[in-house]
């Protein structure tokens, strides 16, 4: 009776990356509604008929895949689930207004545990002036799956798609890169130690920054506000969820261009460097920045005319520029050699 397992011609999910799989599955969905401005393929869908467009984005966090209950406080998890979707609204240069939250949860969780989760959801909503307007609560066979849909607004002239980068545009990124992944490395290390010896008390105090970066990322709405205040509309934008390399590849593919970024320009916090040196002699901080993911910083391009406006913007780093159609996506090292970037780390 089951159609589940095909004996012949079975293609394993691992054979395709997430983006390739989504593309394969949704390729022949042609929009029919006038109000569908942008469908699959950017940080958000863009819908609506007026000058102010509605942004919609949906993100799922699944236990055992995106989070490990061993080291994820539920309040942080609730906060992060919201933050991740708000980050997608920010990446379209928009303002989040509402969310819906769907929770599928096994009876291993108590009502009190869900209250902790919702305390985190509420905190993030309050911090970013977002209203929880719906969703549902369901049983699951095992673990927890959290899906947050965020709704936002943006003036149609200010939408920053991935596809708008132009030759010679400057490439900018906010904050620092690789710290969230460094936090994850620490948590995984302590977990292994704890599993070997349950009496072990992990000492996490000195890792506050990288841990918070992983467990409780912030959507960079402050960057969206700063850009608006300076009158800068990014020509393209994306949030750094999978690592800089992956996001640069997305922008260059969507914009049909190449790019060069300079290794020495990549913003890497000293604590990321410290964690890397603790972990292994061979672990390079720049690898965490390129392939680590989870930073939820904003990566965007601006026209060169906006150079003066962005060069002194606090927390914004100009890391490179867009090159012509057909060029590769490369990082230039301090020794002036070039490394062609591919998406590693998280499969993509």
């Amino acid at each position: 009776m089951s159609e589940l397992e095909y004996q012949e011609g079975r293609t394993e999910l691992d054979a395709l990356g997430q983006v390739a799989l989504i593309n394969r599955l949704t390729d022949d969905f042609a929009p029919v509604n006038e109000s569908t401005v942008k469908g699959v393929g950017d940080d958000c869908a863009v819908v609506g008929q007026g000058k102010t467009k509605t942004l919609v984005t949906t993100n799922t966090l699944a236990e055992g895949i995106h989070f490990d209950m061993m080291y994820t406080p539920l309040k942080h998890l609730g906060y992060k689930a919201v933050a991740v979707s708000l980050s997608n609204i920010a990446a379209m240069n928009g303002t989040p207004r509402q969310i819906t939250v769907s929770v599928a949860v096994s009876n291993r969780y108590s009502v009190e545990a869900l209250e902790e989760l919702y305390a985190g959801i509420r905190l993030c909503c309050q911090r970013y002036d977002v209203d929880l307007v719906g969703g549902d609560m369901n049983s699951s066979r095992s673990g927890m799956v959290l899906t947050v849909t965020a709704i936002g607004e943006v003036d149609e002239e200010k939408i920053a798609y991935r596809s708008g980068a132009k030759l010679h545009d400057l490439i900018c990124v906010s904050g620092d890169l690789g710290s969230a992944y460094s936090g994850l490395l620490i948590l995984e290390r302590e977990k292994v130690t704890y599993q070997a010896n349950p009496n072990f008390q992990p000492d996490l105090d000195s890792y506050d920054y990288v841990l918070e970066r992983f467990l409780k990322p912030e959507p960079r709405m402050d960057v969206v506000h700063k850009l608006a205040k300076s009158g800068v509309v990014p020509t393209s934008m994306i949030d750094v969820s999978k690592g800089l390399a992956s996001e640069l590849l997305h922008i260059c593919k969507a914009s049909d261009c190449g790019c060069e970024v300079y290794e020495e320009r990549l913003p890497i916090d000293y604590q990321t460097t410290r964690v890397c040196s603790e972990m292994s002699q061979n672990m390079l901080p720049v690898s965490n920045a390129l392939n680590g993911g989870g930073d939820y910083e904003l990566l965007f391009t601006v026209n060169q005319k906006d150079y003066d406006k962005v060069k002194d913007m606090e927390g914004i780093h100009i890391i490179g520029h867009i090159t012509e159609q057909g060029s590769p996506v490369v990082m230039v090292t301090p020794q002036n050699s070039t490394i062609t970037l591919t998406a590693q780390g998280f499969r993509d």
Copy 2:
């Protein structure tokens, strides 16, 4: 390290129903955005600043809870996941325009299996002129969790909330009730037989109607269109996802009223009656209608002035009327006794 299991003061999830739990978790989320017209507590959230409002609704189907892969063809599952969310848009008297789909899925599933799922999603989108505009694809530790968010539009003057029913309004329902649950009963029966004897070939041909009602429900957009064409704006509306009793209770609670429905007026298909008689002497078709759920028909109230417009509307049944504040929700039997309705069947 884990905050998961509270030793003291632990309240099991089963101790509360879904609605009570959602209310407890979301009670203190006060909307702050002007564009949030209606938050948690109806079939959809209502957002936006113009005369045309945006409707948003999110629904999850989880393997082992909402569907059983033993007897759920993936194409039907995809169709149903979309249909359930579109039904919520219909229940606000709105028109669906876009959906996002989030899938969390274990590697037990193949790419081909997901293609089947998306074939069903596409079919439902095409049938109801809805665009798939986003979502994500994630791994899960076990089974499949599908979350669909639907976005719709509605003229603000035509929104049908649950809360608008007024004294003496007529209560109407579309289609027939209890058939979806009868389909589920058949599938469960055949599953048990199959598990006892895997060589057994289930004979499902004679149950086509009830099986389709369960496996592939339709959002009643045709009813929304008929009402619009006749110039009828329901005073309240809800879709029948959990059973007539539960939905009547929702409308009466939200509208602060009671109601009377007449048992002999409840639309019950003869195949529902046949399944009940096959199953057990004691199984009453009316119980399936009241408590079975899954029919996704529309339950709505209209002002008495609209009686002439609805009385001959094809597939619409007038089953009772609204009674005054403080009155119970009752069903009147053919013998003229009254039964006070409570939500049974699915926990609510």
